[in-house]
């Protein structure tokens, strides 16, 4: 981590290095907006300082996600690299009215991991995403809502009953079918599924205008 902090230094003149912290704490009025702006800066003028700041924040977390899904450390690191490289290349297709930066980066990471698993099994088709599919009516408040969604979801997750939060967490940090998750928890499959449904329903209610 230290090495990254040092590397960062030379990009501080770009002005980004001091900004992510504010949004990470979730204290700002539009948490996550900082990251969305950085992606915008990459799209607009290939801003390397913005990339370095995004990398510093997200690459270690994406690696952590890959490790949780069972990737070897070297693969986890490579997938974190590839995820942030894809952020650089696809920055122009990021639509801040549709998703928070963290959501978008999560979908890229997820897809790259599926690709990697497939390469492993020597089958060949690339995974694309549906997130660029056209949507009928983007509302004027959508950008603000999407950038706030991450903080709101965190709050909403904290408000879930612990047993519901647990199955949500387990299912996102595992690619196992719910039947195996149920076995690990020593719970009937129906219970796991109903907890998930309750949790997602609650999140939907709490975050109505996101969906």
């Amino acid at each position: 981590m230290n090495a990254i902090a040092i590397d960062y230094g030379e990009y501080q003149r770009g002005g980004w290095a001091s900004r992510p912290a504010a949004s990470v704490n979730g204290a700002a009025s539009a948490p996550g907006q900082g990251f969305a702006d950085m992606i915008g800066a990459i799209a607009a003028h290939a801003d390397r300082a913005a990339f370095a700041a995004l990398f510093g924040h997200f690459a270690p977390r994406v690696k952590s996600y890959m490790l949780r899904l069972g990737a070897e450390p070297s693969l986890a690191e490579e997938l974190a690299q590839e995820t942030l490289l894809a952020v650089w290349r696809k920055a122009a297709s990021f639509d801040p009215s549709k998703a928070a930066a963290s959501t978008w980066i999560f979908t890229i990471a997820r897809n790259l991991r599926i690709d990697a698993a497939r390469r492993d099994r020597r089958s060949a088709d690339p995974v694309d995403d549906v997130s660029d599919a056209p949507d009928p009516e983007p509302t004027p408040d959508a950008i603000l809502a999407a950038s706030q969604s991450e903080a709101r979801i965190r709050t909403a997750l904290l408000a879930l009953p612990p047993e519901q939060a647990e199955v949500v967490r387990l299912s996102f940090f595992s690619d196992k079918p719910h039947s195996e998750i149920a076995e690990e928890l020593k719970l009937p499959l129906g219970t796991v599924k109903s907890r998930l449904r309750l949790a997602m329903g609650r999140l939907r209610d709490l975050l109505g205008d996101l969906a």
């Binding site: 977390r61 088709d125 996102f172 998930l196």
Partner: protein, 214 residues
């Protein structure tokens, strides 16, 4: 085209969001998501949950030169886009690999019926394929081992009293014994993912199966 009226279960959308859906099943779901704003909203919520969970993870330690390596890779040429076949007339949008399969692997399986395999999981045997059926033709009576996901890409078929139009989604399990019939208006093309082969329920189906191989 109006929005589809027959949707996948929330469970499937959540599995897709968390990256746990088998490849072929993911393709079928994506075909539906692409034309269904309602299900896309569900997907977006689930993905936002994934994003928030990952954002909250304890950061892992990266290699000492991780950022330098990434910066050095920024100017490398991007990987070439996935090859895709042309989109046939009147199909809803599908991923490039599906179009490619339609172009390269289409074969006639019976009069008025064609099949094009799309994916096959070597480990589990799960597969996905395109099935094109001419107007008015019925698929012989059959049931399924495991579940089958279907999304209509073009045309329409009738199954147990309901008509499935482009974008409509069906999930058929072992309880379902059916004989879907394509409407008389024209050819119907579906993208289908199945865990296992069909289980034929009558002589015609049994005779056809070795040829159709689905």
């Amino acid at each position: 085209m109006s929005a589809p009226t027959k949707h996948p279960s929330e469970d499937l959308i959540l599995d897709y969001a968390r990256g746990a859906l088998e490849l072929g099943r993911g393709l079928v779901l994506r075909a539906h998501l692409d034309v269904c704003p309602e299900c896309r909203a569900s997907l977006r919520l689930a993905e936002a949950v994934g994003g928030a969970l990952v954002a909250d993870l304890e950061p892992a330690e990266l290699g000492p030169d991780a950022l330098a390596k990434a910066l050095a890779r920024l100017d490398l040429p991007p990987p070439p886009p996935a090859p895709a076949g042309p989109r046939p007339d009147n199909w809803i949008r599908v991923p490039p690999d599906v179009l490619l399969a339609a172009e390269r692997h289409k074969r006639w399986a019976a009069p008025g019926v064609w099949v094009a395999p799309v994916t096959r999981d070597r480990k589990t045997g799960a597969r996905s394929y395109l099935l094109g059926i001419g107007p008015g033709i019925a698929v012989p009576l059959h049931t399924h081992k495991g579940t089958e996901l279907v999304c209509v890409l073009k045309g329409a078929y009738k199954d147990r009293g309901r008509v499935y139009y482009p974008g409509d989604f069906a999930e058929n399990d072992e309880e379902v014994e059916h004989q879907p019939r394509v409407t008389r208006d024209g050819e119907c093309v579906c993208l289908i993912a199945a865990d296992h082969d069909l289980v034929p329920r009558n002589l015609v189906a049994r005779v056809m199966q070795p040829f159709v191989r689905i």
